[in-house]
Subunit: 393 residues, 2 copies
């Protein structure tokens, strides 16, 4: 019964259907599904020993490769059944993205419905989590609420979408909460910290463990040319891109107070410097650096995750002028935490080293975290887990 | 500059990278992106005359086909550039899903980052919307808020995820709102009415036009074996499936009051029969039928969208027993609307006809809408647009 059901679905998915055939198959699926209990053919196959096996049916191909993030690129072997296979060992518990290259053409795993997007690149995903305490997985703890809201930005003359995490206790009413503004990179949008970053799961787990303070987390869209993630904005077909007209030119930083004001108006926030944090990855780190430097009275906790500090754009916007003097002024207000994280292999490593030298020269105190690997989500998820417990203490 | 940038990205996406090469390319992309303004290479290409052109690079393939929903299955032609192309004409304004079949293997459009999932089947999507008044597109109107929340279900012994739409005025406070419980089909989950159904956009637009009453819309997960959409639940790798252990066996219907109670506790609802509606597609229509029949004092507006009425499961659960008597009792309370919609080509058409005959036999009044096409989202989006204006009037 199960086997037949599976065959039906392959037909539904992959092969030509005329209307009559389609209806017949749909009816069969419908009827059979009643008795097909717990059918869940997974791909990739994660064994108890932590090995991960990938398979792809490409009967006519001459070569098939598996790409996993920037970490693995390996040839696959054709097995007896005509499928191409490979087994990976020693992957560490984490969330992974992968795809196949079949005779030079990118192909997804048709047996895995889990996909994530990185800028324009759609890939399959899987989680490797043998440890029960992985902070990125969903555990049996109280869950916060995640909202998609539209805020007014008078500076940009636009209504824009952003995501807001509210801690589990928020719905009980009464209490006010500190706020973390969590910013994405150049190719991201308001949803990426929730999807690739697993921010809601990390927050739920760290709050439940008493390691992080209950907080509101606001995730706006840092590309001012976009009103929303592609598909949720006025142009249904727009493609995600690195390149935006008003890209890192000070526009987002200058409009940022619209987000803070809207948040303080619509949520039960603690609306002062001691209860505000701003942090971001790559472009979001650059945004966090300049927003906090230009608004020295607003943020007591700053996080630069692999920040794009290679762009020192004096003259492009007043936001970027006189950074050194602004930093000195910011630190006269004694921010409680200025956190810098970067991977050893990140192409922005040297730029971050130069920035730290500038900080050192002025005796400006910061916390530095150097990890392995480069400019990638594996680091940013880890940085969030390290950063959150230091906030609002 | 733009061309080079594009080449870089192809390398990033599709070809083997060692760490050094990866860093060099990332740096190039980063540097070039600054000046690459408005780069947005779309696929498919939608011309002003409404034609839609699809292209796929599969240099070594012998045959390539394009599949669009259940509506189009066509061979593509190899063009001079080595790509396979086809142009479609006369598609009506709507949202479409598509994929390619390259030598028998399902392949997505690597130039289109828009993907949607239908059960386990991941496909590309595009919107064809030459009319400015398309109710499924994002227009310049006030937007409601969409929340992902976790509710307690004592009946199921679980905390489960559901989506809630709150109308634009909700955040202003004070006012109470009617509630529509909007249910998905057998292969869906709590997110599918928002993704494939475009429910938030439809609600925003119809409320802005004064055509629909401002309302709260609650979208739970109707598969009781799932706590959340795959990827957002405790098992990160679980695959979406039609087949569930507790599938259409009365368990969901019996636990439904947990959802209503949680909603009335956590939102400013109008908590009575006159301000409650329940509607759903396929399995969700079956759920709506039995929940409203078993709770005749709770819902004044019922919507059956292509309902799975082929399953008359007397004896399987007390929920399904004595339907005719229950319906008679339900209609003694004079529900304000009992709406039945079905497509002429739906494999459930005859079952819906039989159900209408049962209604007719007992002189139970209902509103009937018969559309073209079959068991598909093109119909369900339309049904929602027709159904919403009839509620809470």
């Amino acid at each position: 019964m199960l086997k037949l059901l599976y065959i039906c679905r392959n037909f539904l998915t992959d092969y030509k259907m005329n209307r009559t055939f389609s209806l017949a198959v749909a009816l069969m699926v419908f009827a059979f599904a009643v008795n097909a209990q717990g059918h869940d053919k997974r791909s990739p196959i994660i064994a108890d020993d932590g090995t991960v096996t990938f398979k792809v049916a490409a009967a006519r191909a001459d070569s098939v490769r598996l790409i996993v993030d920037t970490r693995v690129d390996t040839l696959m072997s054709r097995n007896d059944g005509g499928k191409w296979c490979v087994t990976l060992r020693d992957l560490k518990p984490d969330f992974y993205m992968y795809h196949f290259i079949v005779d030079g053409m990118k192909v997804l795993d048709n047996d895995n419905a889990h996909v994530v997007r990185d800028v324009k690149n759609v890939m399959n995903s899987f989680a490797l989590d043998p440890k029960e305490d992985c902070p990125m997985a969903v555990h049996d703890v109280p869950h916060g609420k995640v909202e998609a809201v539209w805020y007014d930005s008078p500076s940009l003359g636009a209504t824009r979408r952003m995501m807001v995490y509210l801690p589990p206790d928020y719905v009980k009413g009464g209490k006010r909460y500190p706020v973390l503004y969590l910013l994405h990179g150049s190719g991201g949008d308001e949803t990426v910290w929730l999807e690739q970053g697993r921010a809601a799961q990390v927050l739920d787990n760290l709050i439940a463990d008493g390691v992080a303070e209950p907080m509101i987390v606001v995730m706006p869209n840092g590309n001012v040319d976009e009103k929303a993630v592609p598909g949720m904005g006025p142009d249904c077909n727009v493609q995600p891109t690195f390149s935006h007209k008003n890209w890192m030119d000070g526009t987002f930083e200058q409009s940022f107070n619209d987000i803070v004001k809207w948040t303080d108006k619509h949520y039960r926030t603690l609306a002062d410097k001691h209860h505000r944090s701003i942090a971001g990855l790559s472009m979001g780190g650059y945004h966090s650096l300049y927003i906090s430097a230009n608004q020295p009275d607003d943020f007591d906790y700053v996080g630069l995750f692999s920040a794009a500090i290679n762009r020192m754009d004096e003259g492009k916007s007043k936001i970027y002028d006189d950074l050194e003097a602004k930093l000195v002024k910011q630190f006269e207000r004694h921010p409680k935490l200025y956190w810098i994280g970067i991977g050893k292999d990140d192409f922005l490593y040297e730029h971050n080293a130069k920035f730290r030298a500038l900080m050192d020269k002025n005796n400006l105190p910061y916390t530095y975290h150097e990890s392995g690997a480069g400019h990638e989500w594996a680091n940013w998820r880890d940085y969030l887990v390290i950063f959150l417990p230091m906030l609002f203490k």
